[in-house]
Assembly symmetry: D3
Homo-oligomer: 177 residues x 6
Amino acid sequence: MGRFQPFHRGHLEVVRHIVTGAAAHPLLIAIGSAEQSYTWQNPFTGGERFEMIERALAEAHLSNVVIVPVPDISRHALWVRYLEGLLPPFDRVYSHNPLTLLLFGHAGYVAESPPLVERGRFEGARIRDSLARGESVTELVPTAVDRYLHEIKAAERLRLLRPGGSAPGAAGHPSGR
Amino acid sequence: MGRFQPFHRGHLEVVRHIVTGAAAHPLLIAIGSAEQSYTWQNPFTGGERFEMIERALAEAHLSNVVIVPVPDISRHALWVRYLEGLLPPFDRVYSHNPLTLLLFGHAGYVAESPPLVERGRFEGARIRDSLARGESVTELVPTAVDRYLHEIKAAERLRLLRPGGSAPGAAGHPSGR
Amino acid sequence: MGRFQPFHRGHLEVVRHIVTGAAAHPLLIAIGSAEQSYTWQNPFTGGERFEMIERALAEAHLSNVVIVPVPDISRHALWVRYLEGLLPPFDRVYSHNPLTLLLFGHAGYVAESPPLVERGRFEGARIRDSLARGESVTELVPTAVDRYLHEIKAAERLRLLRPGGSAPGAAGHPSGR
Amino acid sequence: MGRFQPFHRGHLEVVRHIVTGAAAHPLLIAIGSAEQSYTWQNPFTGGERFEMIERALAEAHLSNVVIVPVPDISRHALWVRYLEGLLPPFDRVYSHNPLTLLLFGHAGYVAESPPLVERGRFEGARIRDSLARGESVTELVPTAVDRYLHEIKAAERLRLLRPGGSAPGAAGHPSGR
Amino acid sequence: MGRFQPFHRGHLEVVRHIVTGAAAHPLLIAIGSAEQSYTWQNPFTGGERFEMIERALAEAHLSNVVIVPVPDISRHALWVRYLEGLLPPFDRVYSHNPLTLLLFGHAGYVAESPPLVERGRFEGARIRDSLARGESVTELVPTAVDRYLHEIKAAERLRLLRPGGSAPGAAGHPSGR
Amino acid sequence: MGRFQPFHRGHLEVVRHIVTGAAAHPLLIAIGSAEQSYTWQNPFTGGERFEMIERALAEAHLSNVVIVPVPDISRHALWVRYLEGLLPPFDRVYSHNPLTLLLFGHAGYVAESPPLVERGRFEGARIRDSLARGESVTELVPTAVDRYLHEIKAAERLRLLRPGGSAPGAAGHPSGR
């Protein structure tokens, strides 16, 4: 479970480890905050992230993965129950978010943090920052994602959304909030 | 796109036709009203319907299908745009709902109604009614779905949810609304 | 205040009476349920209704009118306070809805039902029904509205939305709910 | 748990039975649909119902009762978890709604239907109907509730809200929906 | 399109330029975040802002302007489509918000940033700050708006809402959030 | 009215003052933001806070108090009217939030700030901070609350929720937002 803004090489390695490792098993990737887009935290729509992940998995010849975009609900205490109602059954949860691990642990799931691959480097916020500055991210995201980010002109979008960018009101609601 | 309450043999034949027919192409099944459950119109959760469909496709050896549960939004005029934001790109829409066909047609999609297989017989409402009466639906749903409906005690649930059932307030909100 | 689905000659006469009558005063037309559209009760978007009214007033050379689309809120007890927060000050409310009259009366407004012009004939539901049947409504709506309804193909839309229409699932949510 | 539209003698007897009976224990009364008001199904605000119940319990010298108004959420599958988050701990649920009994039963609670006292007679819908017709309900509701209903002019409100009442659009949203 | 918290002389000059300039055309002013009020970012209700603008336009003898308060929706990707559904047709969008310009540009509109009149000086946040400090804003807002701000005691309200004000919890939700 | 995250000795003294002082009168404690939980600002569910308060009042032998959890609404201008609809009648409001005092004052209530008991010391944010650091809060909260916080492992939860905690993404939405 993650937001995948964007899907990067760190994510890909975790997926590869789960579906091809010693204890290989099918994986369901839940795209969190799927209804969010065009903000600095969540620049890409749920559909764009779905597409990124699908292309990256195809490129890496990884199968046995189901992708589901999941819109947020505002009440944390209902989060586990909400996912149980929306998704097919699962018994193990991977996340780097300790709150998620806590909530699913309480509810009886095996909830664990996957081994990190150079976390400092492969981090959504840093990659978004590089994109906004016009820097190359070729070494940080799978090749298929890199190509896709060019297709949808991700750099231009991120430059506009960056908080404290040069544009007045740049990071807010389209109404200017 | 449909609600699949439950997923029946008519649905399965449409899927088979699309992914194995002369003009075979990949298919994305959007489960509508995915956040609804425990009502007469939508007795099964999005997750239960996901599971039903997945099992039925495995049983029928059909692949090239992606399943996505989609919660409703209340504003019809935003429906097309909302799905574009949540799902990976698509260019053709199948539905029996004329409003859906109209809205997607206006937006430039190929929107068509798939050929019906004995529609009178394979209809969600009729199958739910049979379940609520305790009748067998073995001939109406795929074998894997029939087995799953027993597992989750679908008949008991539907008996309680049926409007005009013997129980007072049976079809309403749990608060009694 | 009304929903104006569509704006008809009865509405126009009420407006004319208020802004040109003996006690003429400026009028604010609040379009209720402005966020609703593509349903049988509310087939036209807030914007389409805004456009209809604007054209009809121009055609009738009526001025001194401000039009505001107002999305619903779900809690009736907050309705008066909500409108006070969204609209410029007003001191008199016209409506045919007794609940509206009651709520605004309690809150200290002059709330009155404008004199009806052949109410049986000029009624939204009947006009929608005529449109859905493909009948002419030329005598029921202002000429400018009649022309606009043709422009946006209102008859086709209403035929699809009519409850109990020939199409399966015709009146529901686009997801088929 | 109930909606208490209005709180009647049948409700009062159930409360008396629970807090003074052989297995007497403290009771938490959850007022469902608390955010609803000014509709035929829910004419009284959550606060008015709170007041009714409090006065009736005082009149009957019943204590050991906590009253909590609970706004609805729209997703049935989250209902149990939602109440667990909003209310102090409880281990037993009383309701006449079979869906509520099912959902709480699944979640491990003792969920039971309290013995009915002349259910046909003491029923919210019938009492609302009597009020709307201007009939006396003195024998159907506790004396304190009867007095309160006069104070807030319940009869007038219900006459306006009754579906199919003489007034056009009487039962809808204040916007006329 | 803007939030107009409050409507100042910079806004007025833009409006004057559009409706009386060389390429004069009618203007629709959309008041964004219209449902927000009593926060530091949005201290004035949609109705108060409507009133301010109306008075300022009357004072400046500007006509050919329609004012519409527009409540926000939380999903940016739906923003353009939402406004199309709520407002009468338009073909050109003025905003200082680059995200708005991007989204409308993608959707095929002429989207442009109006020429700024001393932007540093005429800025909502600075004017709110001056009001909160009890300073005069006579030179920053139209005379009619200045008078209106006194009428509604804007200075007192802003002093309470200012983040980091002396009062504990001053800028939060009324519940203290 | 407050959020009571958690209920501390300062709160208890205010309650004691109101229900046992010279001008003793019944008190209704509204738990604000009752639907919030598992965030740094609102770590405890509405139900957990209800339980804390109930136990603390029992321990202190205080009666004549009614406790009601109140979910937030997002529109400040409707706050007073919303509470009037949800709660039994009241005529006096206690709060330390100046916006609450302003809004209720405008609406005709006696709205006052209760005398503070060493406010610097008894403050929710500071107590949460102490809990997150693993420090004892025995002297800051009633004994019954202290015991309850141990029961529900409050320290562990707060450590995870603290903004800027060591864990990546620790303070966000469970989806990682």
